[in-house]
C-alpha cells in the first residue's frame, strides 16, 4: 500500500464536490476550455491520428524490451557522469532522495512539477528531515502554500479563485496584493526567483528518458523546469520506469502530440533536454546529477491487466473529457492521480482493493479512450478492475446478492417473466399516471431525482403473439 485510503467514502466526497458551486464553475470553464483547445490543435494537425497510433506502438515496443532500453538509458546516464538509483517502493525512493540531500548538505530543495514525487509523498519526508521543499510551478506553489494536494494533473490549482490565491499570498507571504493574476504571477516570480538562486538541490520528474543518449526530457511552460535543472548544485530526477523511450526520433513523435493533448499548444514553452551534469565549461548546470528509477507497482503491471496504463504520458486529456471528473474535480478521487487514468494508476500503486468504489466512478462513456494520445483503453481496464473486485468478492454483500439474482434471472426466461409480473404488481401503489415518482429500496436512488417508467402492462414478448398474427395478415 503506497497511499492510505481516504477517511470519507467516495460517494460522500463526490457529493461535497457537487455542492461546491465555485468548484463546479471552475471545472466547467477549465475542462471546456481544454477540450476546445485540444480539438482545435488536432483539427489543424491531420497527421495527428497516425502519430497517435505510432506513439502507442512505440510505447508498446518499449515495454516489450523494457530491460534493454532501461539498460541503455542507465549506461548512457552513467557514461555522462550521472548516478542512477533504483527504488522499488515509495519509501525507498524517499530514502534515496533524502540520502542525497543529507550527503550534499542541502537545506532547501526547489521542485518542478512532478506527479511522481507527489505519488511518493516526497515533500512530507523532506520536511521531516529538515530540508525545505519549495514547489515552483505556480499552481503547485499555490497549493503548497495552501497545504493542499493537486486537483488536476496539469492545472493543479484549477479549484482556486484568484481571490483565494490573493488571500493566500497575503497570509502566507505577508504581502499586500490584489486579486489580479498578472500581479499574483509577478509576486510568485519574485518570491521564487530568490529560492531558485539559493537552493542547494533541484528535484524534478521526467516526461521521457531517452535510452539511446541518456537524456532526461522535461516539458514545462513556466521556466521552472529549466531553473531547477540548471541552478542548484545537485539535480535529482525521479522517473517512473515506464517513461523510457528508445530514441530521439521517437521523442519527436511524442512531442508532436503531448502538448496538443494537454493544452492545445503545439509544444509547451520549454522542452528541456538534460544530458547529465554540467560540462564543457558552461557557466550553469548541476555538479551532480541523479536519476531515481521508480517502480512502485509499475513493474508488476508489465505482465498485469493494467499494462496499457504504463503508456500514460500524464497529459490530462482524459480528465478534461470525463463526465465524472468534470463534475467532481480531482480531490474527490482521494488519491494522487485523479480522473479516468487516475483510477487505473491508483489500482497500480495501491492494489485493486483501493479502487473498489472508484472503479465504478465511470459511466464507461469512452470519451477518455477517444482523447488519449496513446490510445489507452481505459474503459476496458475499468471493467477488468470491476471484474477483479467481483471475483475477489470485495464488493459489498448486498451488491453481490443483487447481481447474483440478476445473473440467474437473465439465464432463465421463466424466472425473468415471473419477475416482470411480480414487479408489475408491486409497482402499482407507486405509479402516478405514466411515471413512478418514488420507490423505496433498490431504485430509490434513481427516483430521488428522476422519474421511472412503470413496467409495461404487457411486455413486448407478451404482445408478440398478436404482432406476429398481424404480420401474417
Amino acid at each position: 500500500m503506497s497511499e492510505s485510503e481516504p477517511a470519507t467514502p467516495f460517494r460522500e466526497r463526490a457529493g461535497q464536490a457537487l455542492r461546491d458551486s465555485f468548484l463546479q464553475e471552475a471545472l466547467t470553464i477549465a475542462t471546456t476550455k481544454f477540450i476546445g483547445l485540444r480539438r482545435e490543435a488536432f483539427d489543424e494537425f491531420p497527421e495527428g491520428e497516425a502519430l497517435r497510433d505510432r506513439a502507442r506502438e512505440i510505447k508498446e515496443a518499449t515495454l516489450q524490451r523494457l530491460d534493454h532500453y532501461l539498460d541503455r538509458l542507465i549506461d548512457n546516464v552513467e557514461r555522462r557522469g550521472g548516478h542512477v538509483h533504483y527504488a522499488t517502493t515509495s519509501e525507498e525512493a524517499r530514502g534515496i532522495v533524502l540520502d542525497i540531500a543529507r550527503r550534499t548538505g542541502a537545506r532547501t530543495a526547489v521542485k518542478s512539477k512532478s506527479m511522481a514525487t507527489e505519488e511518493i509523498h516526497l515533500n512530507d519526508a523532506l520536511e521531516a528531515a529538515g530540508v525545505t521543499p519549495i514547489e515552483t510551478d505556480l499552481g503547485e506553489y499555490i497549493i503548497q502554500l495552501a497545504h493542499e494536494r493537486p486537483s488536476h494533473i496539469i492545472a493543479p490549482a484549477i479549484h482556486k479563485t484568484k481571490g483565494q490565491v490573493a488571500e493566500l499570498f497575503a497570509r502566507e507571504l505577508k504581502r499586500e496584493t490584489v486579486a489580479d493574476p498578472e500581479v499574483l504571477t509577478r509576486i510568485a516570480r519574485e518570491e521564487l526567483r530568490e529560492k531558485f538562486l539559493q537552493a542547494d538541490l533541484g528535484i524534478s520528474g521526467a516526461n521521457f528518458g531517452v535510452a539511446d543518449t541518456g537524456t532526461i526530457v522535461l516539458v514545462t511552460n513556466e521556466g521552472n523546469g529549466r531553473m531547477v535543472t540548471s541552478l542548484p548544485r545537485v539535480h535529482v530526477a525521479v522517473m517512473g520506469v515506464e517513461k523510457v523511450i528508445p530514441s530521439m526520433t521517437d521523442l519527436a513523435v511524442f512531442l508532436a502530440i503531448l502538448a496538443k493533448s494537454a493544452t492545445g499548444q503545439k509544444l509547451s514553452v520549454y522542452t528541456s533536454l538534460v544530458d547529465g551534469p554540467r560540462r564543457g565549461g558552461e557557466l550553469e548546470g548541476p555538479e551532480e546529477f541523479h536519476l531515481v528509477l521508480l517502480d512502485n507497482g509499475r513493474i508488476r503491471q508489465i505482465a498485469g491487466p493494467l499494462r496499457e496504463a504504463l503508456s500514460c504520458l500524464r497529459c490530462g486529456a482524459c480528465l478534461n473529457v470525463c463526465p465524472v471528473y468534470r463534475q467532481i474535480g480531482g480531490h474527490a478521487y482521494g488519491y494522487t492521480y485523479p480522473g479516468p487514468i487516475g483510477i487505473l494508476l491508483t489500482a497500480m500503486l495501491n492494489g485493486t482493493e483501493s479502487v473498489k468504489d472508484l472503479a465504478h466512478a465511470s459511466s464507461l462513456c469512452g470519451a477518455c479512450l477517444e482523447a488519449c494520445p496513446v490510445r489507452i483503453d481505459i474503459p476496458r481496464m475499468l471493467i477488468e478492475l470491476r471484474k477483479d473486485v467481483s471475483e475477489r468478492r470485495i464488493a459489498p454483500w448486498s451488491e453481490r446478492v443483487v447481481f447474483g439474482a440478476l445473473g440467474r434471472l437473465l439465464q432463465h426466461p421463466a424466472l425473468y417473466r415471473v419477475a416482470a409480473r411480480l414487479a408489475r404488481l408491486v409497482q402499482r401503489p407507486f405509479v402516478r399516471g405514466d411515471v413512478i415518482r418514488r420507490v423505496p429500496l433498490v431504485f430509490s436512488d434513481w427516483t430521488r431525482t428522476r422519474d421511472l417508467p412503470p413496467i409495461a402492462a404487457r411486455t413486448f414478448q407478451e404482445r408478440w403473439a398478436e404482432l406476429e398474427r398481424a404480420g401474417r395478415r
Binding site: P323, L364, V435, D445, T449
Partner: protein, 237 residues
C-alpha cells in the same frame, strides 16, 4: 433483439420497429425467450454470468439472417464483447457470426437497407443525443442524423455537446446517483437550450435517463426513441 429495457419498459418502441421494418418489406421474426444481452452483468464485472447469458443469446439467434437491435449499447455488446467472452472455439465462431449479422436500428435502415427518407411521426423541432456506445463503440454518428435530417414534417437541430454522456452508464445511475444526475442536468440544459420539442436517441438507457429527468422537471420537451419518430410506410414497397 428487443433488449431487456425495451421489452419491459418500452414495448411500444419494439412494436413501432416491427411495423417500420414490415413497411419496408422486411420479414420480422422474434425468437422467444429473450431476456437480456448481458451488458449490465458485464459492465459490473460479473463476467461468468455475462458469458452464460451471452451463450444463451447466441443460441436464440442462431438461425437469424440479420438481427436488429434498438439500442446501441446492446448491439455493441453483441458485436464487440460476445466473441471475447466465449472460451470454447465453437462458441466463439458462433459469436463472431452473430456479431457480423447484428445491427443497431439506424445502421440497419441506412447502411443495410439504404433507406433514409421517412415521414416524421411527430413534427416540430428534433435534436439528437449521441449515445456513447453507438458513437464510440460502433463509430456511428451519421446514420441517425441522416434519418433525422431527411425527415419530412419535422426540422432537425444539432445539440451542442451531443457527444457528451447523459449520465446513465447502467448501474452507475444508481451507484452514484448524485453524479449521474449532475451530468444529466447538464445534458438537459443543453437540450432545452436548443428549443427542440424532442430529443431523439438510439438507446433505451439514455432514454430512461433523459425522460426521467425531463419528466421530473416538468419539461415540455420529450425524449423519444428513433423508432418513435419515423412513420412507417403503410404498404410495403
Amino acid at each position: 433483439m428487443v433488449t431487456c429495457l425495451g421489452d419491459v419498459f418500452y414495448p411500444e418502441v419494439g412494436e413501432k420497429i416491427v411495423r417500420l421494418l414490415r413497411g419496408l418489406g422486411v420479414t420480422v421474426e422474434f425468437p422467444a425467450g429473450q431476456t437480456c444481452c448481458g451488458l449490465p452483468l458485464f459492465n459490473s464485472g460479473y463476467h461468468a454470468a455475462a458469458a452464460a447469458v451471452a451463450r444463451r443469446t447466441i443460441g436464440l439467434f442462431r438461425d437469424a439472417e440479420q438481427v436488429v437491435v434498438p439500442s446501441g449499447s446492446c448491439a455493441w455488446m453483441v458485436k464487440h464483447e460476445y466473441p471475447g467472452l466465449m472460451t470454447d472455439p465453437a462458441d466463439r465462431t458462433a459469436a463472431e457470426r452473430l456479431a457480423g449479422r447484428t445491427h443497431e436500428l439506424s445502421q440497419f435502415l441506412v447502411r443495410r437497407l439504404g433507406r433514409r427518407r421517412f415521414r416524421s411521426a411527430v413534427g416540430g423541432r428534433l435534436t439528437y443525443h449521441d449515445s456513447c456506445h453507438l458513437l464510440r463503440g460502433l463509430h456511428e454518428s451519421e446514420s441517425p442524423r441522416a434519418l433525422l435530417r431527411d425527415l419530412s414534417g419535422s426540422q432537425f437541430v444539432e445539440l451542442p455537446g451531443s457527444d457528451e454522456c447523459c449520465g446513465f452508464g447502467g448501474s452507475f445511475a444508481v451507484r452514484l446517483p448524485e453524479v449521474s444526475t449532475a451530468i444529466l442536468d447538464k445534458k438537459l440544459a443543453s437540450v432545452e437550450a436548443t428549443g427542440a420539442d424532442a430529443v431523439v436517441a438510439c438507446d433505451a438507457g439514455c432514454l430512461m435517463q433523459m425522460r426521467g429527468g425531463l419528466s421530473r422537471r416538468g419539461s415540455r420537451v420529450r425524449a423519444l426513441h428513433l423508432a418513435e419518430v419515423l412513420a412507417p410506410e403503410e404498404t410495403p414497397r
